[in-house]
């Protein structure tokens, strides 16, 4: 015999699965894999250590279509010791890459400012490659209230 309580539980279960279906686990996993792949391509077997890089962007983003983003790396920027490249990735965008910037000792300062599109609440990662071959990284958790690329029902 089905009690009212059981019917209620069933209904709740159906609602919960409906909410999860908004972002299928498949897409989330695919994007995670794409991010890992993109990071692996940059690192080429090396390990990125946390530190020296400062990724600066607002923790609460009201409009994901234009997010001010700046990256700076502690480095003397001399011919022997400088930052070669800064790469920025996001976790939830259809494509993980945001920007790759290449520097030399003539840059003076390893800093970069731009404006990015961020699709959804998640992690943003910056990886810096130094002239000695080491990699340093920083990651920031952001919350996006109005996401980029949502108007087309992509996500």
């Amino acid at each position: 015999m089905t009690t009212r309580r059981q019917i209620l539980l069933l209904a709740c279960g159906a609602l919960a699965t409906g909410a999860q279906a908004q972002l299928t686990p498949n897409i989330a996993a695919l994007r995670r894999a794409a991010l890992d792949e993109a990071v692996r391509k940059v690192l080429a077997g090396a390990q990125a250590r946390p530190g020296r890089v400062k990724l600066d962007l607002p923790p609460l983003i009201e409009n994901g279509n234009s997010v001010p983003l700046s990256v700076s790396v502690q480095s003397p920027m001399t011919a022997d010791d400088h930052v070669r490249a800064i790469h920025v990735f996001t976790e939830k965008n259809p494509q993980p890459n945001v920007i790759a910037a290449y520097f030399g000792p003539r840059a003076g300062r390893a800093a970069l400012t731009t404006r990015a599109r961020i699709a959804d609440t998640g992690t943003v990662i910056a990886i810096a490659q130094l002239s000695d071959g080491s990699f340093w990284s920083d990651s920031v958790q952001v919350v996006v209230t109005l996401s980029a690329c949502l108007e087309d029902g992509l996500i």
Partner: protein, 107 residues
Amino acid sequence: MANRVIVSLPATAKRGEIIEIRTLAGHTMETGFRRTQTGELVPRDIVTNFVCRYNGEEVFRAELHPAIAANPLISFSTVATESGTLEFRWTGDNNFSATHAATITVV
């Protein structure tokens, strides 16, 4: 030049000084992930590369992806070594190309 760009940098600088350069290019940066109302994908149309040369020598280069907002802003710095010209070049999909040259006097 049909493609509108704005570059701001100091007109004069001391030798060895680190100057900040801010660049802005007019471009929609169509991601290639959006669809029209009939469901067709809007083809990607973005600026993919940006290069800054100081008296012919490359000092900064960037590869842009669809995750860069419309009208891409790129701000970076360089050391003022000698008087001369800084040349900026944006290139992208559908043969997009924009150039800008700025002169700087180093004292």
